[in-house]
Protein backbone atom coordinates (compact mmCIF):
# COMPACT_ATOMS: atom_id res chain seq x y z
CA UNK A 1 0.00 0.00 0.00
CA UNK A 2 1.19 3.49 -0.79
CA UNK A 3 -0.15 6.25 1.38
CA UNK A 4 0.65 9.88 0.74
CA UNK A 5 0.54 11.06 4.29
CA UNK A 6 -1.50 11.53 7.38
CA UNK A 7 -3.91 14.13 6.06
CA UNK A 8 -7.25 13.83 7.73
CA UNK A 9 -8.84 16.69 5.87
CA UNK A 10 -11.21 15.71 3.04
CA UNK A 11 -9.19 13.55 0.69
CA UNK A 12 -9.46 11.16 -2.22
CA UNK A 13 -9.14 7.41 -1.72
CA UNK A 14 -7.90 5.24 -4.59
CA UNK A 15 -8.41 1.47 -4.44
CA UNK A 16 -6.58 -0.35 -7.20
CA UNK A 17 -4.42 -3.51 -7.24
CA UNK A 18 -2.03 -2.34 -9.95
CA UNK A 19 0.71 -0.05 -8.67
CA UNK A 20 1.33 1.56 -12.04
CA UNK A 21 -2.34 2.51 -12.35
CA UNK A 22 -2.32 3.64 -8.71
CA UNK A 23 0.48 6.05 -9.49
CA UNK A 24 -1.11 7.27 -12.71
CA UNK A 25 -4.43 7.97 -11.01
CA UNK A 26 -2.62 9.56 -8.09
CA UNK A 27 -0.76 11.90 -10.44
CA UNK A 28 -3.91 12.82 -12.32
CA UNK A 29 -5.95 13.47 -9.19
CA UNK A 30 -3.03 15.09 -7.40
CA UNK A 31 -3.76 18.10 -9.56
CA UNK A 32 -6.90 18.72 -7.56
CA UNK A 33 -4.82 19.70 -4.53
CA UNK A 34 -6.53 17.16 -2.29
CA UNK A 35 -4.63 14.58 -0.28
CA UNK A 36 -4.57 11.14 -1.87
CA UNK A 37 -4.71 7.83 -0.01
CA UNK A 38 -4.19 4.56 -1.82
CA UNK A 39 -5.14 0.97 -1.02
CA UNK A 40 -4.30 -2.19 -2.93
CA UNK A 41 -7.59 -3.95 -2.23
CA UNK A 42 -10.92 -3.55 -0.53
CA UNK A 43 -9.76 -5.16 2.70
CA UNK A 44 -7.09 -2.50 3.11
CA UNK A 45 -9.54 0.15 2.00
CA UNK A 46 -12.14 -0.81 4.60
CA UNK A 47 -9.53 -0.59 7.33
CA UNK A 48 -8.11 2.65 5.99
CA UNK A 49 -11.39 4.44 5.46
CA UNK A 50 -12.23 4.26 9.16
CA UNK A 51 -9.56 6.92 9.65
CA UNK A 52 -10.42 9.04 6.61
CA UNK A 53 -13.05 11.43 5.39
CA UNK A 54 -12.80 10.89 1.63
CA UNK A 55 -14.81 13.20 -0.54
CA UNK A 56 -14.29 10.80 -3.42
CA UNK A 57 -13.38 7.12 -3.66
CA UNK A 58 -11.99 5.73 -6.90
CA UNK A 59 -12.26 1.97 -7.38
CA UNK A 60 -10.96 -0.47 -9.92
CA UNK A 61 -13.75 -2.31 -11.74
CA UNK A 62 -12.55 -5.69 -10.51
CA UNK A 63 -13.30 -4.60 -6.93
CA UNK A 64 -16.99 -4.92 -7.77
CA UNK A 65 -16.68 -8.70 -7.63
CA UNK A 66 -15.22 -8.65 -4.12
CA UNK A 67 -17.50 -10.07 -1.38
CA UNK A 68 -16.98 -7.02 0.84
CA UNK A 69 -17.89 -4.40 -1.78
CA UNK A 70 -21.21 -3.52 -0.13
CA UNK A 71 -19.46 -3.20 3.24
CA UNK A 72 -17.02 -0.81 1.62
CA UNK A 73 -19.76 1.31 0.05
CA UNK A 74 -21.53 1.49 3.41
CA UNK A 75 -18.30 2.54 5.14
CA UNK A 76 -17.61 5.15 2.46
CA UNK A 77 -21.08 6.61 2.88
CA UNK A 78 -20.68 6.69 6.68
CA UNK A 79 -17.38 8.52 6.31
CA UNK A 80 -19.04 11.15 4.14
CA UNK A 81 -17.82 10.18 0.67
CA UNK A 82 -19.77 12.22 -1.84
CA UNK A 83 -19.26 9.91 -4.75
CA UNK A 84 -17.91 6.53 -5.76
CA UNK A 85 -16.13 6.44 -9.07
CA UNK A 86 -15.27 3.16 -10.75
CA UNK A 87 -12.68 2.75 -13.47
CA UNK A 88 -13.25 -0.06 -15.93
CA UNK A 89 -10.65 -1.04 -18.47
CA UNK A 90 -11.29 -2.88 -21.71
CA UNK A 91 -10.36 -6.18 -20.09
CA UNK A 92 -12.85 -5.74 -17.27
CA UNK A 93 -16.07 -5.31 -19.18
CA UNK A 94 -17.50 -8.46 -17.63
CA UNK A 95 -17.91 -6.45 -14.41
CA UNK A 96 -20.31 -3.97 -16.05
CA UNK A 97 -23.58 -5.77 -15.12
CA UNK A 98 -22.42 -6.12 -11.52
CA UNK A 99 -21.45 -2.44 -11.33
CA UNK A 100 -24.72 -1.29 -12.82
CA UNK A 101 -26.69 -3.71 -10.66
CA UNK A 102 -25.17 -2.46 -7.42
CA UNK A 103 -26.94 0.88 -7.73
CA UNK A 104 -24.21 2.49 -5.62
CA UNK A 105 -21.68 3.57 -8.22
CA UNK A 106 -22.53 7.14 -9.12
CA UNK A 107 -19.69 7.59 -11.58
CA UNK A 108 -18.41 5.00 -13.99
CA UNK A 109 -15.55 5.70 -16.36
CA UNK A 110 -14.95 3.09 -19.01
CA UNK A 111 -11.56 3.63 -20.49
CA UNK A 112 -8.98 2.05 -22.75
CA UNK A 113 -5.62 1.35 -21.14
CA UNK A 114 -4.09 2.82 -19.24
CA UNK A 115 -6.43 5.62 -18.32
CA UNK A 116 -8.69 8.28 -19.70
CA UNK A 117 -7.14 11.17 -17.81
CA UNK A 118 -9.43 13.91 -19.10
CA UNK A 119 -12.62 12.26 -17.88
CA UNK A 120 -11.06 11.39 -14.53
CA UNK A 121 -9.94 14.97 -13.98
CA UNK A 122 -13.25 16.47 -15.08
CA UNK A 123 -15.21 14.12 -12.83
CA UNK A 124 -13.02 14.87 -9.82
CA UNK A 125 -12.99 18.62 -10.41
CA UNK A 126 -16.75 18.80 -10.79
CA UNK A 127 -17.22 16.95 -7.52
CA UNK A 128 -14.61 18.85 -5.60
CA UNK A 129 -15.52 22.30 -6.85
CA UNK A 130 -19.30 21.72 -6.77
CA UNK A 131 -19.37 23.20 -10.26
CA UNK A 132 -21.47 20.71 -12.17
CA UNK A 133 -23.26 22.29 -15.08
CA UNK A 134 -22.35 22.86 -18.70
CA UNK A 135 -21.21 20.69 -21.60
CA UNK A 136 -18.23 23.01 -22.07
CA UNK A 137 -16.39 21.05 -19.39
CA UNK A 138 -16.19 18.06 -21.74
CA UNK A 139 -15.14 19.93 -24.88
CA UNK A 140 -11.96 21.62 -25.96
CA UNK A 141 -11.64 25.28 -25.14
CA UNK A 142 -13.40 27.47 -27.66
CA UNK A 143 -15.78 24.86 -29.01
CA UNK A 144 -18.96 26.63 -30.07
CA UNK A 145 -22.23 25.27 -28.71
CA UNK A 146 -25.40 25.80 -30.74
CA UNK A 147 -28.35 26.61 -28.54
CA UNK A 148 -32.11 26.51 -28.91
CA UNK A 149 -35.18 26.42 -26.70
CA UNK A 150 -38.17 24.15 -27.09
CA UNK A 151 -41.39 26.14 -26.61
CA UNK A 152 -43.80 23.58 -28.08
CA UNK A 153 -43.64 19.79 -27.75
CA UNK A 154 -44.21 19.36 -31.48
CA UNK A 155 -40.90 21.10 -32.21
CA UNK A 156 -39.08 17.99 -31.05
CA UNK A 157 -39.22 16.05 -34.31
CA UNK A 158 -38.19 19.09 -36.34
CA UNK A 159 -35.29 19.92 -34.02
CA UNK A 160 -34.04 16.35 -34.06
CA UNK A 161 -34.11 16.24 -37.86
CA UNK A 162 -32.45 19.64 -38.13
CA UNK A 163 -29.71 18.64 -35.69
CA UNK A 164 -28.98 15.50 -37.73
CA UNK A 165 -28.72 17.53 -40.94
CA UNK A 166 -26.37 20.04 -39.34
CA UNK A 167 -24.19 17.24 -38.00
CA UNK A 168 -24.00 15.68 -41.46
CA UNK A 169 -23.30 19.07 -43.04
CA UNK A 170 -20.31 19.42 -40.71
CA UNK A 171 -18.80 16.23 -42.08
CA UNK A 172 -19.86 13.69 -39.46
CA UNK A 173 -20.95 10.22 -40.51
CA UNK A 174 -24.48 8.88 -40.76
CA UNK A 175 -23.64 6.70 -37.73
CA UNK A 176 -22.93 9.75 -35.59
CA UNK A 177 -26.00 11.59 -36.88
CA UNK A 178 -28.18 8.56 -36.19
CA UNK A 179 -26.92 8.22 -32.61
CA UNK A 180 -27.37 11.95 -32.07
CA UNK A 181 -30.95 11.80 -33.27
CA UNK A 182 -31.89 9.00 -30.90
CA UNK A 183 -30.16 10.62 -27.94
CA UNK A 184 -31.68 14.04 -28.60
CA UNK A 185 -35.17 12.69 -29.18
CA UNK A 186 -35.16 10.67 -25.96
CA UNK A 187 -33.66 13.43 -23.83
CA UNK A 188 -36.07 16.06 -25.16
CA UNK A 189 -38.99 13.71 -24.67
CA UNK A 190 -37.97 13.08 -21.05
CA UNK A 191 -37.53 16.78 -20.38
CA UNK A 192 -40.90 17.71 -21.89
CA UNK A 193 -42.99 14.88 -20.46
CA UNK A 194 -41.27 13.30 -17.46
CA UNK A 195 -39.59 16.28 -15.82
CA UNK A 196 -42.61 18.48 -15.00
CA UNK A 197 -43.70 17.85 -11.45
CA UNK A 198 -46.22 19.63 -9.20
CA UNK A 199 -45.85 20.55 -5.55
CA UNK A 200 -47.05 17.08 -4.53
CA UNK A 201 -44.40 15.40 -6.62
CA UNK A 202 -46.78 14.20 -9.33
CA UNK A 203 -45.29 13.96 -12.80
CA UNK A 204 -48.36 15.41 -14.42
CA UNK A 205 -47.27 15.06 -18.04
CA UNK A 206 -45.64 11.62 -17.84
CA UNK A 207 -48.61 9.72 -19.24
CA UNK A 208 -49.51 12.16 -22.01
CA UNK A 209 -49.09 10.92 -25.57
CA UNK A 210 -45.66 11.89 -26.85
CA UNK A 211 -47.05 13.16 -30.14
CA UNK A 212 -49.67 15.41 -28.51
CA UNK A 213 -49.13 19.17 -28.84
CA UNK A 214 -48.13 21.00 -25.67
CA UNK A 215 -47.33 24.66 -25.26
CA UNK A 216 -44.22 24.99 -23.13
CA UNK A 217 -44.47 28.23 -21.17
CA UNK A 218 -41.51 29.76 -19.36
CA UNK A 219 -41.88 27.24 -16.53
CA UNK A 220 -41.79 24.30 -18.95
CA UNK A 221 -39.24 25.42 -21.54
CA UNK A 222 -36.56 22.91 -22.41
CA UNK A 223 -33.06 23.93 -23.45
CA UNK A 224 -31.02 22.11 -26.10
CA UNK A 225 -27.33 22.81 -26.78
CA UNK A 226 -24.87 20.86 -28.85
CA UNK A 227 -21.35 21.17 -30.15
CA UNK A 228 -18.44 19.09 -31.39
CA UNK A 229 -14.69 19.46 -30.83
CA UNK A 230 -13.57 16.67 -33.16
CA UNK A 231 -13.45 14.10 -30.41
CA UNK A 232 -16.85 14.39 -28.77
CA UNK A 233 -20.20 15.48 -30.07
CA UNK A 234 -21.90 16.80 -26.94
CA UNK A 235 -25.69 17.07 -26.68
CA UNK A 236 -27.04 18.84 -23.62
CA UNK A 237 -30.71 19.00 -22.61
CA UNK A 238 -31.90 21.02 -19.62
CA UNK A 239 -35.26 21.28 -17.87
CA UNK A 240 -36.11 23.71 -15.06
CA UNK A 241 -37.71 21.20 -12.68
CA UNK A 242 -34.85 19.23 -11.20
CA UNK A 243 -37.16 16.30 -10.50
CA UNK A 244 -34.91 13.51 -11.73
CA UNK A 245 -33.38 11.66 -8.79
CA UNK A 246 -30.07 9.88 -8.52
CA UNK A 247 -31.58 6.48 -7.69
CA UNK A 248 -34.06 6.80 -10.56
CA UNK A 249 -31.15 7.30 -12.94
CA UNK A 250 -29.20 4.33 -11.58
CA UNK A 251 -32.25 2.09 -11.98
CA UNK A 252 -33.07 3.42 -15.43
CA UNK A 253 -29.58 2.76 -16.81
CA UNK A 254 -30.10 -0.99 -16.51
CA UNK A 255 -33.68 -1.04 -17.80
CA UNK A 256 -34.22 -3.73 -20.43
CA UNK A 257 -37.97 -3.98 -20.84
CA UNK A 258 -40.19 -1.65 -22.76
CA UNK A 259 -43.37 -0.53 -20.98
CA UNK A 260 -46.29 -1.95 -22.91
CA UNK A 261 -48.60 0.97 -22.19
CA UNK A 262 -48.53 4.59 -21.07
CA UNK A 263 -47.24 7.78 -22.62
CA UNK A 264 -43.60 6.73 -22.77
CA UNK A 265 -41.88 3.41 -23.29
CA UNK A 266 -39.79 3.68 -20.11
CA UNK A 267 -36.57 3.10 -22.00
CA UNK A 268 -35.40 6.64 -22.75
CA UNK A 269 -32.46 6.77 -20.34
CA UNK A 270 -31.35 3.19 -21.06
CA UNK A 271 -31.41 3.72 -24.83
CA UNK A 272 -29.61 7.03 -24.50
CA UNK A 273 -26.91 5.45 -22.33
CA UNK A 274 -26.37 2.60 -24.77
CA UNK A 275 -26.31 4.95 -27.75
CA UNK A 276 -23.61 7.31 -26.56
CA UNK A 277 -20.12 6.89 -25.14
CA UNK A 278 -20.55 8.91 -21.96
CA UNK A 279 -23.76 10.07 -20.30
CA UNK A 280 -23.66 12.76 -17.63
CA UNK A 281 -26.50 13.71 -15.29
CA UNK A 282 -26.22 17.01 -13.44
CA UNK A 283 -29.01 17.14 -10.90
CA UNK A 284 -30.00 20.22 -8.91
CA UNK A 285 -33.02 18.97 -6.95
CA UNK A 286 -36.02 21.23 -7.40
CA UNK A 287 -34.08 23.60 -9.65
CA UNK A 288 -32.91 21.96 -12.84
CA UNK A 289 -31.80 18.76 -14.50
CA UNK A 290 -29.12 18.79 -17.15
CA UNK A 291 -28.24 15.69 -19.12
CA UNK A 292 -25.19 15.63 -21.39
CA UNK A 293 -24.64 12.82 -23.90
CA UNK A 294 -21.17 12.56 -25.40
CA UNK A 295 -20.71 10.66 -28.66
CA UNK A 296 -17.14 9.79 -29.62
CA UNK A 297 -16.83 10.83 -33.27
CA UNK A 298 -13.33 9.52 -33.83
CA UNK A 299 -12.68 6.68 -36.24
CA UNK A 300 -11.56 4.04 -36.47
CA UNK A 301 -12.59 3.07 -32.98
CA UNK A 302 -9.21 1.87 -31.72
CA UNK A 303 -9.28 4.32 -28.82
CA UNK A 304 -12.83 3.46 -27.85
CA UNK A 305 -14.28 0.70 -25.69
CA UNK A 306 -17.54 -1.16 -26.41
CA UNK A 307 -19.20 0.13 -23.26
CA UNK A 308 -20.21 3.55 -21.99
CA UNK A 309 -19.27 5.76 -19.07
CA UNK A 310 -21.74 7.65 -16.93
CA UNK A 311 -21.74 10.21 -14.15
CA UNK A 312 -24.53 11.18 -11.79
CA UNK A 313 -23.72 14.44 -10.04
CA UNK A 314 -26.04 15.89 -7.42
CA UNK A 315 -25.68 19.54 -6.47
CA UNK A 316 -25.02 20.04 -2.78
CA UNK A 317 -27.81 21.95 -1.06
Amino acid sequence: MISSGRLRAPSILIVHPDHKTQRTVQRVLGGTGYGIDVADDLGQAVRLIAHLEPILVVLDGSAMAAPNIKQFFAAAKTRGAEACMTLVGAAQLEHMPRILGLGAVTNLLVHPMPLLGEELTITAQKLLRSDLFGAEKYLLWGTRLCSTTLTRASQRAHLVGELAEQIRTRGQSARVASMAMLVTDELLSNAVHNAPVDERGTHYRAELARDAELELDARHEVGLRWGCDGRYLAIEVTDPFGSLERDTVLRALVQNDVKDSGGGAGMGIALTYRSCDHLVFNLAPGKRTEVIALIDVRYPHSERVPASSYNVFVERS
Partner: protein, 159 residues
Amino acid sequence: MPDMRGRISIEPQGDVLVIQGAIDKTAGLTALLEQARDRRLVLDLGGITFINSLGVRDWIRMQAAAQRGGIAVELRRVAEPLVHQLNMIIATRGAARVTSFFAPYACDTCGREDSLLIDAIAHARGLSQLEPPAMSCAECGAQMVFNDFPERYFSFLSV
Protein backbone atom coordinates in the same frame (compact mmCIF):
# COMPACT_ATOMS: atom_id res chain seq x y z
CA MET B 1 -29.17 14.49 -48.05
CA PRO B 2 -32.34 12.63 -46.92
CA ASP B 3 -34.67 14.02 -44.29
CA MET B 4 -33.44 11.80 -41.46
CA ARG B 5 -36.44 12.42 -39.20
CA GLY B 6 -38.98 12.19 -42.04
CA ARG B 7 -42.26 10.32 -41.53
CA ILE B 8 -42.43 6.66 -42.32
CA SER B 9 -43.41 5.54 -45.80
CA ILE B 10 -44.37 2.01 -46.76
CA GLU B 11 -44.41 0.89 -50.36
CA PRO B 12 -45.04 -2.64 -51.70
CA GLN B 13 -42.55 -3.79 -54.33
CA GLY B 14 -43.53 -7.27 -55.44
CA ASP B 15 -43.48 -9.53 -52.40
CA VAL B 16 -41.50 -7.03 -50.38
CA LEU B 17 -42.69 -4.09 -48.28
CA VAL B 18 -40.17 -1.26 -48.52
CA ILE B 19 -40.14 0.86 -45.37
CA GLN B 20 -38.38 4.20 -45.24
CA GLY B 21 -38.09 7.09 -42.79
CA ALA B 22 -38.57 7.24 -39.03
CA ILE B 23 -40.19 4.59 -36.84
CA ASP B 24 -41.83 6.34 -33.92
CA LYS B 25 -45.18 6.37 -32.15
CA THR B 26 -47.03 6.98 -35.39
CA ALA B 27 -45.59 4.05 -37.34
CA GLY B 28 -48.44 1.55 -36.79
CA LEU B 29 -46.26 -1.41 -37.73
CA THR B 30 -48.66 -4.15 -36.59
CA ALA B 31 -50.92 -3.28 -39.51
CA LEU B 32 -48.16 -4.49 -41.82
CA LEU B 33 -48.98 -8.07 -40.87
CA GLU B 34 -52.19 -7.79 -42.88
CA GLN B 35 -50.01 -7.67 -45.95
CA ALA B 36 -48.33 -11.00 -45.25
CA ARG B 37 -48.64 -13.50 -48.09
CA ASP B 38 -48.80 -17.23 -47.35
CA ARG B 39 -47.96 -16.39 -43.72
CA ARG B 40 -44.76 -14.70 -44.80
CA LEU B 41 -43.84 -11.04 -44.53
CA VAL B 42 -40.70 -9.61 -46.12
CA LEU B 43 -39.58 -6.14 -45.04
CA ASP B 44 -36.90 -4.06 -46.76
CA LEU B 45 -35.57 -1.79 -44.03
CA GLY B 46 -32.68 -0.12 -45.82
CA GLY B 47 -34.38 3.27 -45.71
CA ILE B 48 -34.99 3.41 -41.96
CA THR B 49 -33.28 6.53 -40.69
CA PHE B 50 -34.44 6.66 -37.09
CA ILE B 51 -36.22 4.65 -34.41
CA ASN B 52 -36.94 5.94 -30.91
CA SER B 53 -38.17 4.13 -27.80
CA LEU B 54 -41.83 4.42 -28.82
CA GLY B 55 -40.92 3.07 -32.23
CA VAL B 56 -39.16 0.20 -30.49
CA ARG B 57 -42.35 -0.52 -28.55
CA ASP B 58 -44.34 -0.56 -31.78
CA TRP B 59 -41.76 -2.80 -33.43
CA ILE B 60 -41.88 -5.29 -30.51
CA ARG B 61 -45.68 -5.35 -30.70
CA MET B 62 -45.46 -6.15 -34.41
CA GLN B 63 -42.96 -8.95 -33.79
CA ALA B 64 -45.08 -10.42 -30.99
CA ALA B 65 -48.23 -10.31 -33.13
CA ALA B 66 -46.37 -12.03 -35.96
CA GLN B 67 -45.32 -14.84 -33.64
CA ARG B 68 -48.85 -15.21 -32.30
CA GLY B 69 -50.24 -15.30 -35.82
CA GLY B 70 -47.66 -17.76 -37.08
CA ILE B 71 -46.29 -15.27 -39.61
CA ALA B 72 -42.63 -15.68 -40.60
CA VAL B 73 -40.93 -12.28 -40.85
CA GLU B 74 -37.85 -11.78 -43.00
CA LEU B 75 -35.83 -8.61 -42.58
CA ARG B 76 -33.76 -7.47 -45.54
CA ARG B 77 -31.25 -4.64 -45.81
CA VAL B 78 -31.69 -3.72 -42.14
CA ALA B 79 -30.40 -0.18 -41.63
CA GLU B 80 -27.89 0.63 -38.90
CA PRO B 81 -30.33 2.42 -36.56
CA LEU B 82 -32.46 -0.71 -36.44
CA VAL B 83 -29.45 -3.03 -36.05
CA HIS B 84 -28.50 -0.88 -33.08
CA GLN B 85 -31.90 -1.55 -31.48
CA LEU B 86 -31.79 -5.28 -32.30
CA ASN B 87 -28.51 -5.38 -30.39
CA MET B 88 -29.68 -3.33 -27.42
CA ILE B 89 -33.12 -4.83 -26.77
CA ILE B 90 -33.47 -8.56 -27.25
CA ALA B 91 -37.27 -8.38 -27.53
CA THR B 92 -36.94 -6.46 -30.79
CA ARG B 93 -35.54 -9.54 -32.51
CA GLY B 94 -38.70 -11.64 -32.09
CA ALA B 95 -38.51 -14.66 -34.37
CA ALA B 96 -37.59 -12.63 -37.44
CA ARG B 97 -34.87 -13.80 -39.80
CA VAL B 98 -32.32 -11.21 -40.88
CA THR B 99 -30.99 -11.98 -44.35
CA SER B 100 -28.98 -8.83 -44.94
CA PHE B 101 -28.04 -5.71 -43.03
CA PHE B 102 -25.96 -2.56 -43.22
CA ALA B 103 -22.80 -2.11 -41.18
CA PRO B 104 -20.33 0.74 -40.63
CA TYR B 105 -16.98 0.69 -42.40
CA ALA B 106 -14.21 3.28 -42.55
CA CYS B 107 -11.26 3.76 -44.89
CA ASP B 108 -7.93 4.34 -43.18
CA THR B 109 -6.46 5.61 -46.42
CA CYS B 110 -8.85 8.39 -47.41
CA GLY B 111 -11.03 8.75 -44.29
CA ARG B 112 -14.32 7.89 -45.99
CA GLU B 113 -17.01 6.31 -43.81
CA ASP B 114 -19.77 4.21 -45.33
CA SER B 115 -22.69 2.05 -44.35
CA LEU B 116 -22.24 -1.11 -46.42
CA LEU B 117 -24.59 -4.01 -47.06
CA ILE B 118 -23.66 -7.43 -45.69
CA ASP B 119 -25.34 -10.59 -46.91
CA ALA B 120 -25.97 -12.43 -43.64
CA ILE B 121 -26.47 -15.76 -45.37
CA ALA B 122 -23.44 -15.70 -47.67
CA HIS B 123 -21.22 -14.52 -44.81
CA ALA B 124 -22.90 -16.51 -42.05
CA ARG B 125 -19.80 -18.51 -41.16
CA GLY B 126 -17.50 -15.51 -40.86
CA LEU B 127 -20.08 -13.48 -38.99
CA SER B 128 -20.55 -16.27 -36.46
CA GLN B 129 -16.83 -15.95 -35.76
CA LEU B 130 -17.19 -12.17 -35.51
CA GLU B 131 -15.24 -11.64 -38.72
CA PRO B 132 -16.72 -8.86 -40.85
CA PRO B 133 -16.44 -9.40 -44.62
CA ALA B 134 -13.73 -7.44 -46.41
CA MET B 135 -14.95 -4.32 -48.18
CA SER B 136 -13.25 -1.90 -50.57
CA CYS B 137 -13.48 1.85 -50.39
CA ALA B 138 -15.69 3.28 -53.14
CA GLU B 139 -13.50 6.36 -53.30
CA CYS B 140 -9.89 5.12 -53.27
CA GLY B 141 -10.22 1.34 -53.57
CA ALA B 142 -8.29 0.59 -50.38
CA GLN B 143 -9.52 -2.08 -48.01
CA MET B 144 -11.89 -0.61 -45.42
CA VAL B 145 -11.97 -1.49 -41.74
CA PHE B 146 -15.08 -2.45 -39.84
CA ASN B 147 -15.97 0.62 -37.80
CA ASP B 148 -17.62 -0.85 -34.72
CA PHE B 149 -16.96 -3.64 -32.28
CA PRO B 150 -17.87 -7.00 -33.91
CA GLU B 151 -18.85 -8.57 -30.59
CA ARG B 152 -21.36 -5.78 -30.12
CA TYR B 153 -22.54 -5.11 -33.66
CA PHE B 154 -23.13 -8.73 -34.65
CA SER B 155 -24.67 -9.83 -31.36
CA PHE B 156 -28.18 -9.73 -32.87
CA LEU B 157 -27.17 -12.60 -35.17
CA SER B 158 -26.34 -14.91 -32.28
CA VAL B 159 -29.95 -15.62 -31.26
